[in-house]
């Protein structure tokens, strides 16, 4: 056990000497895909609640497809599928983009988390109390101001608990990245297993690392919830 750790601790945490690997890679994938997906989800969530059929319907279809298929299949479609298309072959930049496992992983993960987050945000926007919107309209807020100052801040607070779940699920999904040659924690764990044939040591180490990140994320989100949902705690404690 100690020998394994001595040999691999560097690769498990940040680098194998040439490339970024292990924990650093996992976190990089997580941060990039969650922030990209979250940004698009914000726009799509507003569109999802639009009155126009042709804005609402395509967004629903997008989320339905991406939530109805496994992430692994989406990753396979993007990584093994797209570079065989002829128009991707003809463009050098597109070709280079889809040849890289890391790019494909981040694209697939961002699209996937975008679909789930869109539904979370859209549900939160729908649950913003009507009275607050009426009050804002009565005070003469225009549409832009209404979203900026009333709806989005309130929806963010409503969505926070569900969104924290989604981020932790996304962390767990990043373990899939090793299937497309990305050197994340899981890939190093599999290397250790291939080298030593000790499944409990190899995957146990990976499990401990993921557990640690999960706990840090849970702790962070709990602090955020404490800060942003303070007003709800006060009212809740009075009722209880």
């Amino acid at each position: 056990m100690l020998e394994i750790l001595q040999d691999y601790w560097k690769a498990l945490l940040w680098s194998d000497g040439n490339h970024i690997t292990g924990l650093a890679m996992t976190l990089w994938i997580l941060i990039l895909s969650v922030s990209l997906g979250g940004l698009f989800a914000l726009v799509l969530a507003i569109g999802r609640n639009s009155k126009h059929f042709f804005i609402k319907w395509p967004i629903w279809l997008f989320t339905y497809i991406f939530r109805g298929t496994p992430l692994y299949v989406q990753l396979l479609i993007i990584y093994t599928g797209i570079y065989t298309l002829s128009f991707v072959n003809q463009h050098q930049s597109l070709n280079d983009f889809f040849q890289s496992g890391l790019n494909c992983t981040i694209l697939a993960f961002a699209l996937n988390t975008c679909a789930y987050t869109t539904e979370v945000f859209a549900g939160a926007i729908r649950n913003v109390p009507n009275g607050e919107i009426e009050a804002a309209t009565a005070l003469g807020f225009n549409r832009c101001q209404l979203y900026r100052y009333i709806i989005l801040p309130r929806a963010f607070r409503i969505a926070l608990p569900a969104y924290s779940n989604e981020v932790i699920f996304m962390l767990h999904s990043t373990a899939l990245a090793f299937t497309v040659t990305v050197q994340d924690v899981m890939k190093i764990a599999r290397d250790i297993y291939a080298e030593t044939y000790q499944p409990f040591h190899a995957f146990g180490i990976a499990a401990v690392i993921y557990l640690f990140i999960s706990f840090v994320l849970i702790f962070g989100f709990r602090q955020l919830e404490k800060h942003y949902l303070l007003y709800m705690n006060v009212s809740n404690s009075k009722i209880c």
Binding site: G68, L71, L76, T80, G81, Y197, P199, F203, Y210, S214
Partner: protein, 227 residues
Amino acid sequence: MQGYRSLILQGALITIELAIFSLILAIIIGVICALGKLSKRSALRLACQAYTSLIRGVPDLVLMMLIFFGLQFLLNNITDFFDIDMLEIDPFVAGIITLGFIYGAYFTETFRGAFQAVPKTLIDAATALGMNKCHTFIYVRFPLMMRFALPGIANNWLVILKATALVSLLGLFDLVKATKTAGEATYQPLFFALIAGAFYLFFTSISNIILWWLEKHYSIGITKAKL
């Protein structure tokens, strides 16, 4: 496409079987651990608490590899110790055990919440009518709990269904593995990967319809608040 149709259909069948069997196992584990978490014995409570927190904090893929390769490793050690021939674990059975074990933790949380949602007065009423603990559980607590647990079960079922895609990484010949093989053999990976996606979309759509119907059926006695 023609030559691979039976292969892909076989893979789809394995995927469905795997999902259903692991759902059953996960529900059984979930109910037992939920009762354990609500029991008065603190050791039992602690053990179930550790099980759910640890499993839910680790990616399912890592656990799958840990359990799958770990079981084989343990079995090899045991057969070595008793000097008998090596036993190979059937990947299908191992897949069911690992998926059931992992999602049992998620079901535990669902059932625990549902058991707690059953009004205590109903259990008191059952006791007052002379039912013993066993009868109360079978006729009162369990059926009422199911009504509260149904949305959670529906959610978990969809997650299990999608998680079965991962078992192809353990070497099981499921839908994903079948389409991947076909895609590599015919140099049309995109087409066959899309077929895999279409199959999953079909399964989830069917499940959504059935779950919608089930929810309507089980909420007959409840009127929703109209705003």
